[in-house]
Symmetry: D4
Subunit: 226 residues, 8 copies
């Protein structure tokens, strides 16, 4: 098979799975339904699975008509078809600070599941009420990788990273107002964190955090297999 196919408006990258571990994922924000059908058909033919992120509910409906075996989640705004081989090591814990961060957290969870990873949720444990967080200390410390999703001042990421010996991937969210600047503030705060072992992805990028977490888990799984 060719490394990519040229559809004119786009070049579908069949080689990506071999190169980077997972097939190309379709970013749904600025694409027409027609474009997505074309690309998805090629991806399904080549890989047997596909995923679209940032997909609006109305576009999803049209796609489900064409691909009835696909599944759409309205909170995460993700459409998936098929699933990757299971990653047989470890577990990711997705932690989020408040109710409003759910869509981003769920984008991470669904991406991880599609990528074959085991994943748990720990939601609404913002630092203004530490008891809620400390009550789940054990679960936090037993995760292999942690994704911390937080808007507002993003302090949850620093607190969690200070509790564990595992890599933490912080995801700032655009939830907030005024001096929050649609996510810039938690983004900068997470980058300036006093805790070590933590890195950051773009605002609302639950998908990106999940990708890196999956690559980490797969590396560890390969370690486990050797």
């Amino acid at each position: 098979m060719e490394k990519f196919e040229d559809l004119g408006f786009c070049k579908v990258d069949f080689d990506r799975e071999k190169r980077t571990g997972y097939p190309e994922v379709i970013y749904g924000e600025n694409k027409t339904v027609e474009q997505m059908i074309e690309i998805m058909s090629r991806l399904l033919y080549a890989h047997g699975k596909a995923m679209i992120t940032r997909l609006s509910a109305d576009k999803a409906e049209e796609l489900l008509d064409v691909f009835p075996a696909a599944k759409y989640d309205a909170v995460a705004r993700i459409l998936t078809y098929g699933v990757a081989d299971p990653v047989k090591f470890g577990k990711v814990l997705v932690v989020c600070a408040g109710t409003s961060d759910l869509p981003v957290a769920e984008e991470a969870v669904l991406t991880l599941e599609w990528m074959g990873c085991r994943v748990d949720r720990l939601y609404d444990v913002g630092v203004a009420g530490l008891d809620r967080l400390l009550a789940h200390k054990e679960a936090i410390q037993q995760a292999s990788v942690l994704i911390v999703v937080a808007g507002m001042e993003g302090a949850l990421a620093s607190v969690v990273a200070g509790m564990v010996k595992r890599p933490v991937i912080a995801v700032p969210t655009s939830v907030g107002y005024g001096a929050h600047f649609a996510g810039i503030t938690p983004l900068l705060a997470m980058l300036s964190s006093c805790a070590s072992g933590m890195s950051v992805v773009n605002i609302d990028n639950g998908y990106g955090a999940a990708c890196q977490a999956a690559l980490i888990l797969r590396l560890a799984a390969e370690g486990a297999e050797t």
Copy 2:
């Protein structure tokens, strides 16, 4: 006495103590030693006490020659002369996140002492090691007013504000690098905090936080006297 005296380059505000609770304080950053001597002489004559903030060690030395009864603190960069009547109620707790925040925390402490308030210190309790903070839970909850000084991502302020039923005044510091923007990041983070009952002052403004804390304590003291 006139409400103010005109020195040409400056108008000394004698009425300020009556109006706002404390005499005018001299901001030392951009003033010459000569200017400060002139202003301080007037203030001492009118109020019997005076304070200079942001004072460099070499200028302080010259001022101590003229006012040998004054005291200078090189960490807080504050020179004080005399002290206000004691505020007979409550206590302020000054909490700071890391060793590098000390100068700002000490600026707050010395200002509070000069303003007659009782004050305790709790230093180096950043959120990357929550145990250090939780070990002092009782002291934190017994303070009347809390000043939280933090650089980096400023998360400490949110965590402390979530633990107490007392007003918290957050002071971001300029300690950090890169995405920290010399204090802008903790400033924005504190303003976007998920915790209630907290307000914020300018970057490195330990003095300003202390002023407000002193006014709060005096209000409560007046309440106690009625």
Copy 3:
């Protein structure tokens, strides 16, 4: 009673009143009506009172059907149920610069009333016509705590803080255009104020200012009771 209850999408914090002085308040901006009904039911069961901020009129209508004893204010966008025990000391004065700042000022006023505080209003006294402000000098100086709400250049906060010996909490508003940056300009101006004894909360955060004012008044009330 447990410290919190896990509703899956959210963990209701029953311990907050004991810990921070007031029950958890619901931030209505990004929540569905269903979520708010669930949370509010728990809070009413535990505390007998509840408040929702940033609530749109149409969502409010649905909530009033379920909780007919609640009250909704369309200007402040606040829904309240019940009221806290009265704070038996002092009074808060909410000052605002112009007609356009009313929603934020009213958010502060209604929050204070729900928190049991006495509160007065002084509206439309922007510094471009100082007479309006100076005509109320006495009322300003007799308040225990002042909340100053201002958009544009936010100068009112500095002027008021220079007139009183009480703590001033400044609230920048998003009212303005161009170089006003939706509230960033008065926010920065208030943080850079030449007046002492003043602190700042986030843009449009009338609720946050009210919280801190209530905590200050309660501290003073406790002083008065001792």
Copy 4:
């Protein structure tokens, strides 16, 4: 005479006085002493007067050796030679908020004097102590044009503009720290002012404000002569 002379590194604009009312003024910041001597010689030959702004004391000394009839002011950092014909109408009042704003205020004053305008000073009347300002209400209201120089939050400009029926030119200064951003905050605040009849020049640009004030006074003087 030619409209300009080409010195290679610079083209001296002899036509500027006729075109814009005043001869070219030398901006001293990035020029060598040699360059300034060359340009100043041409300007003196053509106009009989010259001015250099932003001139450091050590460069000034070298220039005074060459042009002993020139005068240098170390606070304003201005060197002048000669003076324009007197503007026979009105008076400019230069108002400044604090002691630290003096260099900028003096840059305005000396520029105005060199441009032949009458000018008065009113210094250190920041809004944190309104009495100092209100005590000079009459002088403020009798000025023909007002230049208001202020750092910190820049509130003085709005307050003054609300008191007068004359044009106000606001000059933000770089005096401040943290959220003050070296003058950006008062600049934005002055641009967002709630007062009318006011315009703004660049940070620390006392010279620019003086230029516009002089043009206004000359227009009025021409009116008076007709």
Copy 5:
């Protein structure tokens, strides 16, 4: 008559005309029709004239029903009633760079007319085609005051200010895209101008520029009368 009347939501400032030269002008952006009717009635009673800026067409229609003698201009978004006494000296020239800047330029023109000033227009003379500007050199040089309205990079203001011996007031507009930042770029460019005798008002603030121009013309007119 009292200096102001308290309508609760607003304090109408009757003293402003005496103090600052013109009656209070209503900023229509965030006000309800009812509020504007109330305020306008008081202003008309006190001054016999009134003006509302930033007024949408639909609100204007309702106001015209109540005040049939008022006039509304849909481009400038201004409603006027009556007119000030004529200013018997000089003329303002409103220059604009492109077709898209018209609404702001017209806001300036209509404000000036309402304030009794003579005013001329010179539109669409952006610097990318200098001939259009140079063809009107004489008109430009004969104006008493110039208001230059420009979006994009705002270069027109510098070019015009370099051609005249009269005060220039620059108005950046929000017309542009990308690196133009809704007017921030021409605002900063105008503040950094290499031309003297120029000052700047807020983005799209045609009204503010007109106010200052009117005050300048009235000063000159008073000069002419003495």
Copy 6:
């Protein structure tokens, strides 16, 4: 042993190794030599190893006098004492774009070595000459974790992340000028990357990237041991 020891100015966190995988590391930027000696002594006593980052050469010299067994690297500005147990799985590849990024890359390399990880270097392979990068394709694809250090526009990180199935940690550096904003530009570019599986740390934070890489390698090593 206690979890931490209180030195007054600082609380040494002995529990951190157990909690987060590695002992506390001293950030040398704002600490005095005396403070560092005190803290380092405690850390050596508790853990037998220690590391100081951002340490100037002159302070390092004083510390080497006290701890002659320590080693100092002037490029990375790191002092180490002892080394962690070797991590028996995988290898980190530190890639950097240009010669100027070396100090940051070396900070990562030395931290990794101190943390017991195997690490290789691939330097000066910026995207303006792709051949240099492509010549090392195999080495790039065989690394377990990649740290990509780049200033300028930071494009190298995206290109590398598109070539591998392993986690990539991007480190923007402050090397550049003008629109580079001391590292903000590559920081934002890396956060906006079109490549997946990549996360970002603060500007110049080679240490932080190394921490996360070490945690990933240890997780995989644990996988390999199970």
Copy 7:
């Protein structure tokens, strides 16, 4: 013919073609259909060809009724009438990174065609899959001028510029989210590029890039003719 015609709201610049190589192009964003008809009529009369950019589909429809010989492209949002004389040298290659950048790339392509230039497309060759780009190395190196259109982190421009000996014009696009700031990030990244021979135009300014490319090609064509 006059150099320009004054339509009141606008001055049509007939001289522009002679002066700058191409007739005035109409920026359609803020103009009414009536205004565009008026201007376009004059341009067609003077030059026999015309172009409107940033034209919405509904306005285009009205214009096509009036000018049935015109052509409208809905992706590029461009309306053209006629075409310039062919430029008989070289070819421009328009490269774009992703599907979402198409509208900007097409704006460049159609502008170039209207300006008489030969142009090729190379789309969806983002750096996350280098093979797609390297597969077209020859086409890239044979182009006379390259326009590189990219959103996200804009890395494609640096990579392409490092491959060729021809001028590269980079166009950042507003496609992205969060730290992408609607195009600011690729704009800054392109300006900070490590590759030489590249310059940058405004965000989404496909038209501007095409203009410069056309001027370059015409210069070379003139070279070829001499």
Copy 8:
């Protein structure tokens, strides 16, 4: 010859001349003298010519000891050795706005000369005195490519681009203060220019502008040779 040589700290790119038209140029800012000697030796051996930009005078002196045939220009801060084959077509005109922009303009001029291009200077023709610019209209219109260097508000670039049918490359400089933000303002202004046919390079990047101009001239020269 290999495409590059690996010096460990750097990989010298011998292939660049063939690929991009000119040999690698050394950016001197952050390199040690030793590093530069190593790299320059290799480049001279491979290409017979070399250039270092942003080189301080003291480092230059050391390099001249090693390479006595090299030439150093202290204003442009450039060291050159040898020169490229002459480009036998056209001429570049480097225009600058003010005396302070000279170092950047000279960086462009010397780079062009080293690259074999013919180049003329037109200095100190800022738009505040248009006559100086218009006096050179013919020279401006006869250039093949124009580089416009300007600080302050950067308006000169727009004015020049509106006068010519040749490509204009704009270079903002860091000369200015306050709202100029060390070059950000002219950078943004140039990007937002109302003139077509213009592109922009980074602040102070005279070298980059020269590179693109040289590539354009060489393309045209190749055209001329065909």
